[in-house]
Amino acid sequence: MKIALFILALLLSATAVAREAVPESADPVLEKRVVKLTSDLRCLVCQNQSLADSHADLAIDLKNQVRAQMLEGKSDAEIRDYMVARYGDFVLYDPPFKARTVLLWAGPFVLMVIGLGGLAIYLRGRRSRVDAGEQLTPADRARAEKMLRGEPGGEA
């Protein structure tokens, strides 16, 4: 009986959640477009959330703006331009490549090139040291073997 009640409660809570997710306009295709576009736009009040995720007042206003403009027949690109004109490239989670954003886009690759370059120089230096005859002397070798076997006399 208790279990049945519990399951009933679970089912009811599921419908409660479902009700919360009802889209704000009746057109599911439009609503999908709104969510898709606003997922790429940053909420300026809570900066690590997208407009789609945010429930901040401004985010709700902006989502309504997006919806209203879509109903007026504006394209996604036009609406994105509308947001950029007001809030700058900062609203875009996928900012365009231009002079101001060069470091953002190219930075990781520059770091990778520096890292690979450093690695190459290091490896080449090591190989040339080996080639130059820097090899283990028999005495060193005997010491190393003792160390590995854990015998006394290997230290220092």
């Binding site: 300026l44 009040v45 900066q47 007042d57 401004l58 206003d61 902006l62 703006q65 950029v84 004109a85 007001r86 809030y87 700058g88 490239d89 900062f90």
Partner: protein, 173 residues
């Protein structure tokens, strides 16, 4: 050389992090600086039957201060606006952002009214056009209706004295 490598890496990281800590992520550079201010025509707060538009301000260098009675930081800033409005150096206009008229009037009654005129942006549409995302925000607009300066967050006496006033005097010629 090799011995100092970790130290060098540490120093570079420390410099980057120190610079990063100084930056304020809430100060998003506005794309509106040096661009024409977005047009508006809104009812006045005190006399809703009359309105005020951007074109009424032509030829004036003026300050547009976005405020609301629900905004806590606006209260911090308010004495600064009141003080400078008394000095008559620069006309200050208020954009009452997403507020209730009664609340806004009561707030001005209680804390003083520095604004030549306040206009009501009840649904926040004009705020969106001005890229408002954190009240208070303040715009310095020149005689041609171009935005010359924007401050996000409370204006302090230092900012008024060192940034807004010198620029306004220059624009006033």
């Amino acid at each position: 050389m090799k011995r100092f490598l970790p130290l060098a890496i540490f120093l570079v990281l420390a410099v980057f992090l120190a610079v990063g800590l100084q930056l304020n992520p809430r100060e998003v550079p506005s794309p509106l600086i040096d661009k024409p201010a977005p047009a508006f025509r809104l009812p006045q707060l005190q006399e809703p039957a009359r309105n005020l538009g951007l074109d009424d301000m032509k030829g004036k260098v003026w300050l547009l201060n976005v405020w609301a009675s629900w905004c806590v930081a606006c209260l911090d800033e308010h004495p600064v606006m009141v003080e400078y409005s008394k000095r008559n150096v620069l006309p200050i206009y208020g954009l009452n952002y997403k507020d209730k008229r009664e609340d806004a009037l009561a707030w001005l009654g209680k804390h003083g009214n520095p604004y030549t005129v306040s206009i009501q942006d009840a649904d926040g549409r004009v705020g969106i056009d001005y890229g408002v995302y954190g009240v208070p925000e303040t715009y310095l607009i020149d005689g041609n209706g171009v935005i010359r300066y924007k401050r996000i967050g409370p204006v302090t006496p230092e900012i008024f004295e060192q940034k807004i006033l010198p620029l306004a005097r220059k624009l006033q010629g």
